[in-house]
Amino acid sequence: MQKSLLMIPSKCTGCSQCELACSYAKEEAFNAAKSRIKIFDFPEKSRHVPYTCTQCAEAWCMKACPVDAISEDKKTGAKIVSAELCVGCKVCTIACPFGTINYQQDTGKVVKCDLCGGDPECVKICPTEAILYVNADATGDARMREWAAKSDEASDVTPN
């Protein structure tokens, strides 16, 4: 059974340790701006929401990539960017309706969550268990997947 990241906003304190752990694991720098997971703040609701790629089945980024630089890790289901093959065209960054694959100007490549090969650093560091790595069918990202399905190009939802 593949696992997914499950975010529980009600438990998130906005401490940013996940961002720092991620950026350190991926870039060897404690720099939240380089993290693949981002915390968004909702002061009116007193909420902080950790946000990253859900490794969606639609894989908008992977389909849109013109140079075969994004592939699926068969073990974890994560969609992985090959820095070697990525030319930095950024098409994936506008194709992904979740905005969870992003361009880094200093490297000229795109980056996204790769689930750390099945041992996510954000999960390990989170002091309040607001980020869990659990069986895919148990995750609350079902709702996000629902939205992914709604934005599928083949559906016929229109604004009017």
Binding site: R47, D68, G88, V91, C92, A95, Q104, V157, T158
Partner: protein, 412 residues
């Protein structure tokens, strides 16, 4: 069943792969018009800069990718189509019978009616062959004129500048990327490029190109003349649909397709840059962009294989990197009558965001100087996501679009 796909760009390849999965046991023939394996034009500027080799542009990197899927990749150019007897004639005289045909022939660059554009040293930057021809003419100390600062011109601009060439860009309209950017953003991109050392001449037309000494070219900019080593023409593209003349298939500024990507002929479909398909923002449009090509290819193939799949319509969206300034445009960024718009502008810092709305929905967006989560703009517009109370919040602070998306699509 015999499926013929003419045109081996992203749309053709996506269609071939989809057919290989959904119409198992069928014969799938993919016809490419260029000698290389199927490749991406998107990646061409990166070959020009040398950051990747030619094989870095190939759409699929796995060896025997097409063979392993029983996709027969052959070389040929379409000459004519007879819908009556379901036959496609190729340029070398070969006739291919099909049961279902996909036209994914893409587009080709236009040469504007300017004297001298046939001279040696005048090139497009459209194919891998073009890149080979241009490469030696760029570099430190070389003078280059780029005709056209549209989307494609602006992509090439970055590569030409990176080569160290002295670069002049000539654009007939009054701003850079006129169809992808409004006046504010187009002017900011121009100012940025000028800061980076590019000479940008907007509202300027090239009157003619003439041979100069030493193999150089003299470019007449309407009085003011400039001698250069290379002229690159990026003045727009047009669909490769000439071979359809006499076929009865309806062509406007692209091959007309219905919302199943079918042309006016029953067993012929069209996809990608050559197709005028349903536009999510209304009506029918040619959206010559990579994501649309792939979506078209996939949906057309499903319908060709008998899995009736309506297409919800493509959303115009672009992302551009002009010498380090990144811009995105999505949907109806000019807005619509009776709609609303919100802007946040900081010209000094080259930051700009503009959102347009109609009723409860976002319908368009422009950003400058932002790389993070820009995909959410597509998510909000194309899903579409009802904004509720976030409409007013975004009117006050348009940069909060990610928060709007999260709050409206998740339980938080």
């Amino acid at each position: 069943m015999t499926y013929v796909i003419v045109g081996a760009g992203p749309a053709g390849v996506a269609a071939a792969e989809t057919l290989a999965k959904t119409a198992k046991g069928s014969e799938i023939i993919l016809v490419g018009g260029e000698p290389e394996p199927p490749y991406s034009r998107m990646a061409i500027p990166y070959v020009l800069t040398g950051s990747v080799g030619e094989d870095g542009t190939y759409l699929r990197k796995t060896e025997n990718w097409y063979e392993d899927r029983n996709i027969r990749y052959i070389h040929g150019r379409a000459e004519s189509l007879s819908t009556g007897d379901s036959a496609l004639r190729l340029a070398r005289g070969e006739e291919m019978k099909f049961e279902k045909l996909l036209i994914s022939t893409g587009a080709r660059p236009i040469k504007p009616p300017v004297p001298g554009l046939d001279l040696e040293g005048v090139h497009h930057c459209w194919t891998l062959e073009d890149v080979r021809n241009i490469k030696g003419l760029t570099g430190e100390g070389k003078d280059v004129i780029l005709i056209g600062a549209g989307f494609i011109g602006s992509i090439i601009l970055e590569a030409l500048l990176e080569s160290g060439s002295n670069l002049t860009v000539v654009e007939a309209e009054d701003r850079m990327v006129p169809r992808m950017m409004n006046q504010v953003a187009g002017n900011m991109i121009k100012a940025w490029c000028e800061k980076k050392g590019v000479t940008v001449l907007t509202s300027t037309r090239v009157a003619g190109v003439a041979q100069a000494d030493g193999g150089r070219l003299e470019v007449d900019l309407g009085g003011n003349k400039k001698t250069v080593d290379l002229v690159v023409v990026a003045a727009g593209v047009k669909p490769n649909a000439d071979f359809l003349e006499g076929s009865g298939i309806e062509v406007e500024d692209g091959i007309l397709v219905d919302n199943h990507l079918k042309t006016s002929a029953d067993n012929v479909y069209a996809a990608g840059d050559c197709a005028k398909g349903p536009d999510y923002s209304g009506g029918w449009s040619v959206h010559a962009i990579q994501p649309t090509a792939v979506e078209h290819g996939r949906i057309a193939a499903l319908n060709m294989a008998g899995q009736v799949t309506p297409y919800k319509g493509s959303l115009q969206m672009n992302v551009l990197d002009t010498a380090g300034l990144i811009s995105t445009s999505v949907g109806l960024f000019d807005g619509v009558e009776g709609g609303e718009e919100a802007e946040d502008l900081n010209e000094q810092r080259f930051k700009y965001i503009r959102l347009t709305f109609k009723g409860d929905y976002m319908i368009g967006a422009l950003t400058l100087g932002r790389t993070d989560q820009v995909g959410v703009l597509r998510g909000l517009i194309h899903t579409p996501v009802s904004l509720g109370p976030w409409k007013q919040k975004l009117m006050a602070d348009p940069a909060k679009f990610v928060e709007a998306y999260i709050d409206r699509t998740q339980v938080i």
